[in-house]
């Protein structure tokens, strides 16, 4: 039995409870009563994957169906992978401990580009052919993916049978129902894929063929098998009533986000021009304070967690935030539950809001300023003024905080050295502010952490056309920032520029990158997002061997009239809007948020909803 084989080696690895399941809230079913089995795979370790909210939602959603069984599967750590390969233990699901190779669906959630090689590694560990074309023509082992990265799935298109665009709550069961029906009829894989491609939100890449011009840009796209010319993402209409789990799997070992998390809203009204999440999750939809409260209560009671976090892109944009927090704090304080509120915006961080947060727990304050100067913040449409940043910090310092974390991006479009020096100057002005406050926390030093990411242009943003700075230029700017900081009260951290380069290539790449990813994985690349495992030299070799120039994708401006690798996918925000916003950005002009004025992105028109104004 596979279980015996696993247990025989479990004590040789770190944190063995990650590999054996049996957690409270995990769902076991009688195999003889199950018709369709789904392996929900997260292409990173248990500690990270178990923190992912989407998996919790879709896991419970599928398991609500008596005859469908969804199980979890994660990338094993390096130590356990070695043992698995040596002892021929195939990748298995945590509930049944059965090999996932025999499942009907093997579904990956693609959260970040740097997890692509892990997908290949997991398929290989499972004993599933890595390329879709090498799988059998039987209706079995359908390898699918969803999540934000599939808005440009071309770099991984050859490895998947189909992609699920948009919100899984809407489409996953529909897809599984079709599979179940066709399985009963004895249909084959190709028949199933043809029918699946007719479902809104399902993209079957093998029916789409690209040809390229001499300059390597896309010449045209040919669609076969009656598949739709453009595939439109799926959207939940009534977000307040959408399915939300009543229970989470509660891990034994500590995971990254070890708490209840309740989604308060989806989408974003802000329109920061670099932010992919801000566009692909549109339209903006909220849950009512009552729904949020009852979901919180239910999950806390069922899991036994004593901490809850509100999940959204920008919690303070909830139209009824005050009522929501009042009701929530009523419950959490009485039950000794900690409430944490990530994703608060600088500009509406009011004193009364801070008072409310202080009541529950004192955690760190983090602000995403993104740009060092007002001009640059206008370019990226981060509608935050220095005055607002200063006011918020003032409120925070007076409220007893003495450390602030600031997020910035480097390499943004139109950026000059002045903008980089501006980051250091802004941090210095916050320090000066701290010492100018009479009732500042006494006896403590002010500490500003400046965390500087490298700008990665992403599909479905106004900056999708933009080139990324070369690694050399980024490194020069990083050094400039370090030289501009004159005090130890400011701590600077930044990303490896070679990692950001790969991120940009994989984000904006086309189907020709599949071979590069395959080659890099063959050379031993995996866990690329873990700095200790990142092998940039191997990636460069892979690009070289496949005759692909990474600069073509990362450091080149994509023309407005060029066919983009993701143009046939419709995330409901129009390309015209992105072009308009890109031009506006280059004039350093901002676009107000959706509540103030509709900027015509097209999403509500597409789904037939009213805009705010």
């Amino acid at each position: 039995m596979l279980r015996d084989k696993i247990e025989k080696h479990l004590l040789e690895v770190q944190k063995p409870s990650r590999y054996i399941g049996g957690e409270v809230g995990s769902i076991n079913k009688d195999k003889s009563e199950v018709d369709v089995r789904f392996a929900f795979c997260f292409p990173d370790t248990y500690d990270i994957g178990m923190s992912h909210l989407g998996m919790k939602i879709l896991y419970s959603l599928i398991n609500e169906r008596k005859n469908y069984w969804c199980e979890r599967c994660f990338a094993p750590g390096i130590d356990f992978e070695e043992i698995m390969r040596k002892n021929k233990i195939p990748l298995y699901a945590l509930e049944s401990l059965d090999p996932i190779k025999n499942f009907d669906f093997i579904g990956f959630t693609m959260q970040y580009e740097l997890s692509y090689t892990n997908v290949l590694n997991m398929l290989d560990l499972a004993g599933i052919p890595i390329f879709a074309k090498d799988r059998t023509d039987k209706l079995e082992q359908i390898v699918v993916a969803g999540g934000p990265c599939v808005c440009n799935p071309e770099p991984i298109a050859d490895f998947f049978d189909l992609f699920i665009l948009g919100e899984g709550e809407e489409v996953n069961l529909e897809l599984m129902d079709l599979y179940y029906e066709m399985k009963k009829q004895g249909a084959g894989r190709l028949d199933f894929l043809r029918r699946a491609s007719q479902i809104e939100g399902i993209y079957v890449p093998q029916f789409y063929k690209f040809s390229y011009k001499a300059d390597n840009t896309i010449e045209k796209l040919e669609v076969s098998d009656n598949a739709p010319k453009t595939v439109r993402k799926r959207v939940i209409r009534d977000f307040d009533k959408v399915y939300y789990p009543e229970n989470f799997v509660v891990p034994f070992t500590e995971i990254v986000h070890d708490r209840v998390s309740v989604e308060v809203l989806r989408g974003c009204i802000r329109g920061c021009r670099f932010c992919q999440a801000g566009f692909i999750y549109r339209p903006f939809r909220e849950k009512s304070p009552e729904t949020i409260c009852s979901e919180t209560k239910c999950l806390c009671e069922n899991t036994g967690y004593d901490e809850v976090s509100l999940a959204s892109l920008s919690t303070s944009d909830h139209s009824e935030i005050d009522s929501m927090l009042t009701q929530l704090i009523d419950y959490t304080a009485g039950e000794r539950v900690n409430l944490s509120l990530p994703s608060l915006r600088v500009d509406n961080f009011s004193e009364s809001l801070l008072e409310k947060i202080k009541k529950v727990r004192k955690s760190g304050l983090t602000f995403a300023a993104e740009g060092g100067t007002q001009r640059l913040r206008d370019v990226i449409n981060k509608n935050v003024s220095e005055e607002e940043i200063m006011n918020t910090c003032k409120v925070a310092f007076e409220g007893g905080y003495s450390s602030v974390k600031l997020y910035f991006m480097m390499g943004l479009p139109t950026e000059t050295d002045e903008d980089i020096i501006g980051i250091a100057e802004l941090a210095q002005r916050i320090i000066d502010l701290f010492y100018s406050i009479e009732n500042r926390p006494k006896g403590r030093q002010v500490q500003i952490s400046v965390s500087c990411a490298t700008f990665v242009p992403k599909p479905f943003t106004p900056f999708q056309f933009e080139p990324q700075d070369t690694p050399e230029e980024i490194e020069r700017k990083q050094k400039l920032l370090l030289d501009s900081v004159k005090t130890k009260k400011i701590r600077v951290s930044y990303h490896d520029s070679n990692v950001s380069l790969l991120e940009a290539v994989l984000a904006k790449g086309d189907r020709r990158l599949c071979n590069v990813i395959y080659t890099a994985w063959k050379k031993g690349c995996k866990f690329d997002s873990w700095s200790e495992y990142y092998k940039f030299d191997k990636w460069l070799e892979a690009f070289e061997e496949c005759g692909i120039n990474p600069s073509f994708y990362a450091n080149r401006r994509f023309e407005y009239d060029e066919i983009l690798p993701w143009d046939h996918l419709d995330y409901l925000v129009t390309k015209e809007f992105f072009i308009r916003e890109n031009k506006t950005a280059h004039k350093s002009v901002t676009t107000p948020n959706c509540r103030l004025r509709c900027s015509g992105c097209g999403v509500n028109k597409a789904v037939g909803r009213e805009c705010f104004c």
């Binding site: 004590l11 063995p16 409870s17 049996g22 957690e23 034994f252 806390c300 899991t303 004593d306």
Partner: protein
């Protein structure tokens, strides 16, 4: 406020034996919260339910007799009700066997009894090696302590209750010091056996079977 000072005896078997001692703490906190029992919370800066485990259990060991002390605010609730409420929310492999008043002090614990199987190609030969080791005048072990590695003789404190061959493996029951003074883990014996055994073997199904006081009196 009247506090019931209670002691639960629980099993930790199957998949639950991979829950580390640190994780068990977190796990139990959530068990109490799910159970909605009126457990007593500490009154410090960071209030949390009060509970403590008598002995740590090595990762991978099973147990029939883990001891957890906790307090309940008296609510006209019977021991059986408490047991059932806890069992309703326990993870797979963990089960409360009994709940009762705390009678003996935890410091009264002096020994624990373990059972385990030694699996090899030739049980007879392995059995001979075990006998030989057991009959040695001393069994010297390098034991890791907080102050570094220390050589100890486990022989005087070790008591073999049984050692027999069945189903092709050597099954042993052994008592070793446990509690606040000295703790010897059966793996110490197993490591010593690995050094002298003529054939390779593997220790399986290590299980803590009982907790004893002075004179081999049962702790509960």
């Amino acid at each position: 406020m009247f506090l019931l000072r209670l002691r639960a005896i629980f099993e930790k078997t199957g998949r639950a034996r991979y829950i580390s001692h640190l994780d068990l703490n977190r796990c139990m906190l959530r068990v109490f919260r799910r159970s909605k029992l009126p457990v007593w919370y500490t009154e410090g800066f960071n209030p949390h339910p009060y509970y403590s485990f008598a002995l740590a259990l090595s990762l991978g060991f099973e147990s029939r007799c883990e001891i957890m002390d906790f307090n309940i605010i008296n609510d006209n609730i019977t021991y059986d009700e408490i047991k059932n409420k806890l069992n309703a929310v326990m993870p797979e492999g963990m089960r409360v066997v009994s709940v009762a008043e705390q009678i003996k002090k935890i410091t009264a614990i002096t020994k624990a009894e373990y059972s385990f199987s030694l699996v090899s190609e030739d049980a007879e030969k392995l059995h001979d090696s075990v006998q030989e080791l057991v009959n040695c005048p001393e069994i010297l072990i390098d034991k890791k302590t907080k102050k570094g590695i220390k050589t100890v003789d486990i022989k005087p404190d070790m008591e073999v209750v049984s050692c027999e061959i069945s189903d092709g493996s050597v099954n042993m029951i052994m008592r070793l010091p446990a509690g606040t003074q000295t703790n010897y883990n059966p793996t110490l014996f197993i490591e010593a056996l690995k050094k002298v055994s003529v054939i390779p073997f593997e220790a399986q199904k290590i299980c803590r079977m009982g907790i004893l006081c002075e004179n081999n009196e049962k702790f509960f």
